[in-house]
């Protein structure tokens, strides 16, 4: 492993990778700071650019956007009272309070330090936990691959949407989209309605771009007429955190990073859940919980450390099993597969240099993000002055040109737009686009696994599966995945209540 890390370091410190990293970090921070544009959208929009890049610069760019996007959201949360991404909603509580007290820059300093620590922590965890964990995938055979795909789908479905039925149906919809095209095992075209373009299947990337960006544009248009200019709070205070403050937040930051890492590893639970859990736990274990909500530095540090720690955590199950830990990780998985990389043990052996480079790139991106953040936060907030009426056409242009650039054909653009409208309607009716994307990725895996399992079982599939310990474990996990949302639902409602009580505006 060490020799591969050294090789990877050589790959990271190349001009191309460094450019990718800086572009990723800057783009991530800008998009993250803009309310209404999420990290998921940023990654989806920039995937087409990675087609012509090598795997290392391309993937490093994508993970840089991810972590910087999550961090960028905190700047608007603190200075505008509006979270730039859903992951920063919890930061609003104490962050904006500090701005009102004339300590806005101090809050940004704290948020930067906490984010960098959370990000680097989870990056290191990814670097050292993922390789040994990836040996699990060696014990997997066809039945296990089938079951892990089903598990991934049930758990993301149960976490993402308004109700578990709608979440599962979103996943089923994605499975059906994944069916379209030529059946890989028999070469038979399925559900393509005789349209040539559809025989090769619906391309994943245009679908993702539509689901995450055009749908968001349409949502923004709903309130464009009454959209008011963001009022930037007073930018005052000391940016560089004092030694005393750093010592004060250290335990909170460490604790929140651990929480974030674990929430990230949970399939489907992303930065938004991570930051709320981090905030609530920090408040619960604090000696002075009454300070929270009144502009205390721990209240900024806790959610920010947690949401950046989610990033590395979310990549662990994605790298080793192909089950993304968050919506962004699902999109990243698409970016990974475009480079011809398939999750599993091979990512840490045959393709080890690429994977380790990406992980080291993620760690480095967090550090660069911290430096850039401290240098530019004051000015970065001005991007929120860009009117929505300019921003929206720009996103439409990028969505279109990006989906076109993949295969240089208009059909992908139409697919992108159709998924955009579909994604918007799904959001309006309580469904969710994230399970659709995941199902499009996992569907073929599930089908292949199932069909080969049927052949291997030679008779009763169920007794065959019961004879395999890992399969039994996975089946239990699937049942838990369907049952546990009832408990999580309760928690979510609690955090929503907390949001309302504290007057956090919805993104």
């Amino acid at each position: 492993m060490m020799d591969m890390i050294i090789l990877a370091l050589e790959q990271v410190f190349t001009v191309a990778t460094m450019i990718g990293l800086f572009v990723g970090v800057s783009a991530g921070m800008i998009v993250g700071a803009l309310p209404g544009l999420s990290a998921t959208m940023a990654v989806a929009l920039l995937i087409p650019l990675t087609y012509s890049m090598g795997p290392i610069p391309g993937l490093v760019m994508l993970v840089s956007i991810y972590t910087a996007g999550i961090y960028g959201g905190s700047i608007s949360a603190i200075l505008l009272h509006t979270p730039g991404t859903p992951s920063s909603a919890a930061t609003v509580l104490d962050g904006y309070e500090m701005t009102k007290q004339g300590r806005g820059l101090e809050a940004i300093g704290i948020s930067t330090v906490a984010s960098v620590f959370g990000g680097v922590f989870s990056g290191l965890a990814l670097l050292f936990l993922a390789p040994p964990l990836s040996t699990i995938s060696l014990k997997f055979s066809e039945p296990e691959f089938f079951l892990i795909a089903v598990f991934g789908l049930t758990i993301i479905a149960s976490l993402a949407a308004d109700s578990i039925v709608k979440g599962l149906l979103s996943g089923v919809f994605g499975l059906i989209v994944g069916l379209i095209g030529t059946d890989l095992l028999t070469g038979f075209p399925r559900f393509s309605f005789g349209i040539t373009n559809m025989q090769s299947g619906i391309s994943l990337v245009p679908a993702m771009i539509g689901l995450f960006s055009i749908s968001q544009v349409l949502s923004q248009l709903e309130t464009l007429r009454i959209a008011k200019k963001h009022e930037i709070g007073d930018i005052k205070g000391k940016l560089i955190p004092s030694w005393k403050n750093l010592k004060a937040i250290a335990p909170t930051v460490l604790f929140s990073s651990v929480i974030g890492l674990f929430v990230g590893m949970l399939p489907g639970a992303g930065g938004d859940i991570g930051s709320w859990v981090g905030y609530n736990e920090a408040k619960r274990f604090s000696k002075n919980p009454e300070k929270f909500g009144k502009g205390c530095i721990e209240g900024v540090a806790a959610p920010e450390a947690a949401n950046n720690a989610v990033t590395g955590g979310a990549l662990i199950p994605m790298f080793i099993l192909g089950i993304p830990g968050s919506a962004v990780a699902a999109v990243l998985l698409g970016g990974l597969m475009i480079q011809g990389l398939v999750p599993g043990r091979a990512l840490f052996t045959t393709h080890g240099v690429i994977t380790y480079s990406v992980i080291i790139g993620l760690i480095l991106a967090n550090i660069v993000m911290g430096i850039l953040g401290l240098l530019t936060a004051k000015h970065l907030i001005k991007v929120t002055n860009v009117p929505v009426v300019i921003l929206m056409p720009a996103i439409v242009l990028f969505s279109i040109v990006g989906s076109y650039a993949i295969n240089n054909n208009m059909f992908d653009v139409y697919v992108m737009f159709a998924f955009g409208v579909g994604g918007y309607l799904m959001k309006k009716t309580g469904f969710h686009p994230a399970p659709v994307v995941l199902a499009m990725i996992l569907g073929p895996l599930a089908e292949g696994g199932l069909r080969r399992t049927l052949v291997m079982a030679k008779g009763n599939v169920f007794t065959y599966l019961l004879g395999r310990p890992i399969s039994v474990t996975l089946m239990i996990l699937i049942v838990i995945a369907i049952v546990s949302p009832i408990i999580l639902d309760y928690r979510k409602k609690n955090s929503k209540k907390l949001k309302v009580e504290n007057g956090v505006p919805e993104e």
């Binding site: 650019l49 087609y51 012509s52 109700s163 039925v165 709608k166 599962l168 149906l169 089923v172 499975l175 059906i176 069916l179 059946d183 095992l185 028999t186 038979f188 399925r190 559900f191 055009i214 544009v217 349409l218 248009l221 709903e222 309130t223 464009l224 007429r225 009454i226 009117p387 009426v389 300019i390 929206m392 056409p393 720009a394 439409v396 242009l397 279109i400 040109v401 076109y404 650039a405 240089n408 208009m410 653009v413 139409y414 737009f417 409208v421 918007y424 009716t429 599930a446 089908e447 199932l450 069909r451 049927l454």
Partner: protein
Amino acid sequence: MKKYTDVYIGVVLIIIALIIIVMSNPLPSESAVFPRIVAGIMIFLSLILTFNGLKSSKSVKDESESTEKIFMKDVLKGAAIMILYLVLMPILGYFTATTLFIVLFMVAYNEKSVRKILTTVVILNVFIYMIFVAQLNVPLPQGLLM
């Protein structure tokens, strides 16, 4: 109308699932297994959705207007402009259609400053050209006149 949304969605999804089952008939049995399982799960879940929808529609009266004001007309307008853009792109060529789209979009959403519109048009077109044409050599649609 809104209270029956889930019921309508459920019924539509059941119909789609039935179409999938019918369409999987001519396929070799091996290729048809998975689509049929998916369709079966879809029918099961859609039935729950429809049933829950009917149940909650009885208990809850028609939802009063949601607290936040939403302008569906603005959404439809935006979607229409985008569709027009997509239709015109292969005919007029990428950059002509794009310019038209930006102007139309900004005017439709009450941007009155000509300078702002022109700046946006120039910046976005140059940006796309630099990245996708100059750097990535993407052959963007040229249009029928070129």
